[in-house]
Each structure stands twice: as structure tokens, then as C-alpha cells.
């Protein structure tokens, strides 16, 4: 049996074929072509013909070939999340959107004002996620917000995942819109439930990417549906955690031109002397940073404007103007590749800043509080400081042989509020040198154990960091 897997990215359509030998997979062929935006099926079938010998469609019908594919479609659908309290329902809404593979375009809390609605109409998100209130809890805000959305000119999909007591009223208010009502993402204050909202966003995502652009042609010809790439990678992270010995705890960086995605598999266990605050953390988590990327978002990186950026520039003896000029150049030409030492240096600097900031935002914080009973540590978010493994993927990191992410994590030891940043400190770094993770993620839907094993086997070990004491 041959397994073909294709990932339709925003710039490249990549594919590979594998053969299952016993319980292991062997890489047969690889191919990549520029994504044909007007009709995605052109590049797709081009790549397919390169990775499969003979007539692929004939082999699919005959059952000798299995095909799975994913699409990143515009870097994920834009989701506007509306919650009640910023740290509560809005936070879970953001988590649901990001784990579905979406991009957060706007966030709102409490009551939507007329200018908030105007902002939404201006940006036209693909999906509006509306939440607020526990079941039986507050309903005033979601009802007011539903009424405001109903009166708006927004023509997009809506997902309601708020207080179920008023779900019918919300549905009646939004009767003129495309609305999916799902179970509350916070039915009880101490028990978040982001999965139904996540699944709704993913299925809307699928319906949307399939429309036009040639994906329907691919579906008809191959008889299978695509999955959103970030969703496939998140599930793949979970598969690796569950099926590969020694890989129950790791962090995966996927840095592209427009976003930096961070995935982590980690089970937070309570430790004595540490008090957890805030929402419980999922075991497998994805965060997407839309302002951190190597090309499209390069200029946003230069505008971070925090002390870490200033310190980094000083340490590397680079002026902000030089970095900004380089960022402007690569944003204008997203397919540019650095030439010469100076450009490579600036490119590495951009990558380091993206990686450092994205991981700092992904991980939790620890702060010590002095009480009459002595010192107590208060933790919010996930503690990845003892995580043993980090993987770099995405076009840039896949090729960056000498790159060491640990040095960039260390730019964020303490945050601006004086709290310890719980980023990995002593870890082995691996490179997804052939950029196979998104492709193997597709494969994992059919042969999870072999695909998870293969992802790890194909990694190139870079370095082990142990020079720093754990904070």
C-alpha cells in the first residue's frame, strides 16, 4: 500500500508518498510546486503525479493508494471572538478558535458598542464566535450582543457557545444569519468546554475552503475531504504524545511567513508549594501569533516595542532602522531569500524574535508571593520549564542548521511584570529538516502509530541545552 499526502499551503503545495513496511513507513518520493491560487487542483494534481508513479486516480479506485490532504487556506479562517469577561469566556473562546486552526482577527469583551460593530463590519471576519455566561449565569450581555450582531451588516458564519439558558433567544435574534448553536464553552465556572465550539469552527472552515478554488474538483476526483492544516498538526501532536515512547512532553514550533504557531504536549501536575490560578490548561495546546512571521508579518515584529526587542537589537549590534528596512523589503517580496552575510544575520534576528516572543506568549508565568506562612509560588498558564524536547518546523526552521532557539527563549526569562516565564530551559532541540510534519499529520489519520514514529525518526537532532540551571 502506498500512502500519498499533500498539504496545500498559501505559497507552496507540498506532497510526499510513503510505503508502509511492517509497522514503519518509508519515504518514497517528495515534490513541491507553487500553489495555484486561482485553481488549487492544478498544483495539487501536479504534485500528485510526481509523488505517485502511474495513474494515481486509477490506483485510488483500485485501493492500492491511500490519499490524505490538508489545506491551510489563507492561513486559517479569521475568527472574531466575543466573550464576556476578558480572562474568562473570551480567553476560552480564543483557545477554541486557535485549536480549530483559525486565526483570531478581533476580540471583544462585555457589551459590543456601535463602534465595535463598525470595526467588525470593516474587517469582515469569516466567523464570529459569541460566548458569555455560564449555564444559568449571566445572560444580559450575550443577548445584547446577539441583538447588536443581528442588526449589523455582517455576512459571515456565527457560532454561539454561551449560556445555554438563552440559546433559543439568541437563535431567534440571529435568525437572519448563518448560525450554529453549540454547547457552552464554559458550562460551569471551573470546567471549560472548548471542544464543541472548536469543532463547529473547524467544520465551517472545511465548508468554506471547499467552496470554489478547485478544492471541490479535488474532492470529486479523490473522494476524500481536506482537513485544515493547523488542526491536523494539533491532532498529530496529540498522536505523537500518546504513541511515541519518550515524547509525552514536547513543544513544536511552526514558523511561517505570516504566523508563528506553537504547539505543546504537556500535562500540568500539581506540585507542593505551588498554587495554580486561572483556567485549567489543556494537555495539547496550540497558539497562533498573527503578528509574528518571517515575511508577511516581518514589519509587525519590528514594532513589538518592548524591552526585549531593544535588548536584542543592542546585543546583536543592529539598529532598529536596519531591521525595519529589511523587514519592509521582505514583506514586499515574501518569496525573497537572504543573500550575503548581513541579510542572513537580519533574517536570523527576525526568526529569533518570532520564536522567543511566540513561546513566551504560549507558556505560563510563575511569581512568588510572601505570606505569613512563608513563600508561596503562584502559577498561571502552563509550566514548560522542564520540557525535555523542542522541535522546529516550517520552511525557515526546517533549513536553519545552526539556529538555537534556547538563546531566544532566554531573552524572556522574566516578563515585564517581574514574573518568571515558564519556557523550556534545558532541552534537546530537533529540526524537522524535510518539513514533513504537516504531511505526516495527514498520514496519522490512517496509520497513527507509524506516522507518529516516522515524524520522530526523520527529525535531525541539533543540540542539547543543559548549560542553564532550571529556574
Amino acid at each position: 500500500m502506498i500512502y500519498a499526502t499533500i498539504d496545500i499551503g498559501s505559497t507552496w503545495t507540498k506532497g510526499a508518498s510513503f510505503r508502509l513496511v511492517g509497522d514503519r513507513v518509508r519515504l518514497e518520493r517528495r515534490a513541491a510546486r507553487p500553489t495555484t491560487v486561482a485553481n488549487l487542483s492544478d498544483a495539487f494534481f501536479g504534485v500528485l503525479s510526481e509523488i505517485v508513479a502511474g495513474d494515481p486516480l486509477d490506483q485510488l479506485r483500485g485501493g492500492e493508494l491511500r490519499l490524505r490532504y490538508s489545506s491551510s487556506a489563507k492561513g486559517g479562517l479569521a475568527v472574531a471572538a466575543i466573550g464576556l469577561v476578558p480572562d474568562v469566556t473570551l480567553e476560552i473562546g480564543k483557545l477554541a478558535a486557535q485549536s480549530a486552526g483559525a486565526r483570531l482577527s478581533q476580540v471583544f469583551s462585555y457589551r459590543l458598542t456601535a463602534s465595535d460593530v463598525a470595526q467588525l463590519e470593516k474587517r469582515q471576519p469569516d466567523i464570529v464566535l459569541l460566548a458569555g455566561g455560564t449555564d444559568g449565569g449571566n445572560s444580559d450581555y450575550v443577548l445584547a450582543n446577539a441583538a447588536a450582531l443581528a442588526a449589523s451588516r455582517l455576512d459571515c458564519d456565527f457560532v454561539y457557545a454561551g449560556n445555554r439558558e438563552v440559546a433559543d433567544e439568541v437563535a431567534a435574534l440571529l435568525a437572519g444569519k448563518r448560525l450554529k448553536v453549540v454547547p457552552n464553552l464554559l458550562p460551569d465556572f471551573n470546567e471549560p468546554n472548548p471542544d464543541p465550539a472548536r469543532d463547529a469552527i473547524r467544520s465551517i472552515f472545511l465548508d468554506a475552503i471547499v467552496k470554489g478554488k478547485g478544492l471541490d474538483v479535488i474532492m470529486d476526483a479523490t473522494g476524500s475531504e481536506p482537513v485544515p492544516t493547523p488542526f491536523a498538526v494539533l491532532e498529530y501532536t496529540r498522536t505523537i504524545r500518546e504513541l511515541v515512547p519518550g515524547w509525552s512532553e514536547f513543544l513544536l514550533l511552526d514558523m511561517g511567513g505570516a504566523t508563528t504557531d506553537v504547539y505543546s504536549a504537556h500535562l500540568d501536575t500539581p506540585s507542593s508549594g505551588v498554587i495554580r490560578r486561572g483556567l485549567p490548561e489543556p494537555t495539547v495546546k496550540r497558539t497562533v501569533e498573527g503578528d509574528l512571521g518571517m515575511r508577511v508579518s516581518a514589519q509587525a515584529v519590528c514594532e513589538l516595542g518592548d524591552t526585549t526587542l531593544a535588548a536584542t537589537l543592542e546585543a546583536h549590534n543592529v539598529s532598529k532602522a536596519d531591521l525595519a528596512a529589511y523587514a519592509a523589503r521582505v514583506t514586499a517580496h515574501p518569496d525573497s531569500i537572504p543573500t550575503g552575510t548581513e541579510e542572513r544575520r537580519l533574517d536570523t534576528l527576525l526568526a529569533g524574535l518570532c520564536v522567543g516572543h511566540a513561546v513566551a506568549r504560549h507558556v505560563g508565568r510563575m511569581t512568588s508571593v510572601y505570606t505569613p506562612e512563608g513563600e508561596v509560588l503562584v502559577q498561571t498558564g502552563r509550566d514548560l520549564s522542564k520540557l525535555p524536547k523542542v522541535v522546529g518546523s516550517g520552511g525557515w526552521l526546517a533549513k536553519a542548521e545552526g539556529f538555537s532557539p534556547g538563546a531566544w527563549f532566554d531573552g524572556h526569562l522574566i516578563d515585564q511584570r517581574g514574573r518568571s516565564v515558564l519556557a523550556p530551559r534545558n532541552f534537546a532541540y530537533y529540526r524537522d529538516a524535510d518539513y514533513l510534519f504537516p504531511l505526516l499529520a495527514n498520514l496519522a489519520r490512517d496509520i497513527p502509530a507509524a506516522a507518529a514514529r516516522a515524524g520522530i525518526d526523520f527529525l535531525v537532532a541539533q543540540e542539547t541545552r543543559s548549560e542553564h540551571a532550571t529556574a
Binding site: 474568562v88 455560564t134 449565569g137 449571566n138 465556572f189 471551573n190 498554587i275 505569613p372 506562612e373
Partner: protein, 138 residues
């Protein structure tokens, strides 16, 4: 708004967890829907939870003697964040030293708490006044 939703927690840097669990158990048994935030809860965390669950009351515990500092300004913060009518209770070892309880009660009532309880209070009697106070505000 459901009249039996209440928020419970130990304020400030206070880690005393046992009394908190007892109050939770008794009030739940009395028919309240208790959202228990546990120990080391900040004023804003109490308010965040109260808004989301549409709570009728916030019950603040303080055992370690620093209640006077931790609890000050809570009523004002509730009003600022839209909880004008919420019932506010406070109880525990609220101050350090041997101060007369009536003095302590006045101090905390002046801060805007509706009722103030010593550590020896019977939780069932608290439940009874809680029911009345929430009903009176609606």
C-alpha cells in the same frame, strides 16, 4: 439571574483551604450553586466569576489576619465593574490582635460589606441570611 448562584473564595495571599471546603459543602447542601475559587483569590477574580455566573452574592474569607488590607475597596471595585447590587459577605479572622468583634464588624461594614462574620459562625445561619439578602436585592 439565578438567585442561588454564589461565589466563594479566600482573598489575598491567604492559603487556608480547609474552612473554604467546609463552607462550600454546607452551602451546596443548603441548595446554593457555589462557584468555589479556592485560595489566594484576587478581588478581580471574584468579580470576573460573579459576572460570568450571574452571582447574587460574593462570600469572601480571610483567615491570616490581613483581611483589612485585602478587603478594602472591594465594594467600589464591584460598582466600577457593573455589580452595583451584589451581596457582599466577609468572614474569618479578619484582623490581627484581640479587637472587639463589634469594632471589626463596623470596620468592614464601612467598607461596604453587607454582613461580617466571626470565625465561630454557624454556616447554616449564614445560608439563611444569604437567601434573604439576595432576595431583597432583586
Amino acid at each position: 439571574m439565578s438567585e442561588t448562584n454564589v461565589i466563594l473564595g479566600v482573598i489575598g495571599s491567604d492559603c487556608h483551604a480547609v474552612g473554604n471546603k467546609i463552607i462550600d459543602t454546607v452551602l451546596t447542601g443548603e441548595g446554593f450553586r457555589v462557584t468555589n475559587l479556592g485560595v489566594m483569590v484576587s478581588q478581580d477574580e471574584f468579580i470576573d466569576a460573579a459576572i460570568e455566573v450571574g452571582a447574587g452574592a460574593i462570600l469572601v474569607s480571610s483567615i491570616y489576619g490581613h483581611g483589612e488590607i485585602d478587603c478594602a475597596g472591594f465594594r467600589g471595585r464591584c460598582i466600577e465593574r457593573g455589580l452595583e447590587d451584589i451581596v457582599l459577605y466577609v468572614g474569618g479572622n479578619l484582623v490581627i490582635g484581640k479587637r472587639d468583634f463589634s469594632e471589626v464588624e463596623t470596620l468592614f461594614k464601612d467598607m461596604g460589606y453587607d454582613r461580617v462574620f466571626p470565625p465561630t459562625v454557624d454556616i447554616k445561619s449564614v445560608a439563611q441570611s444569604l437567601r434573604q439578602d439576595i432576595a431583597a436585592r432583586q
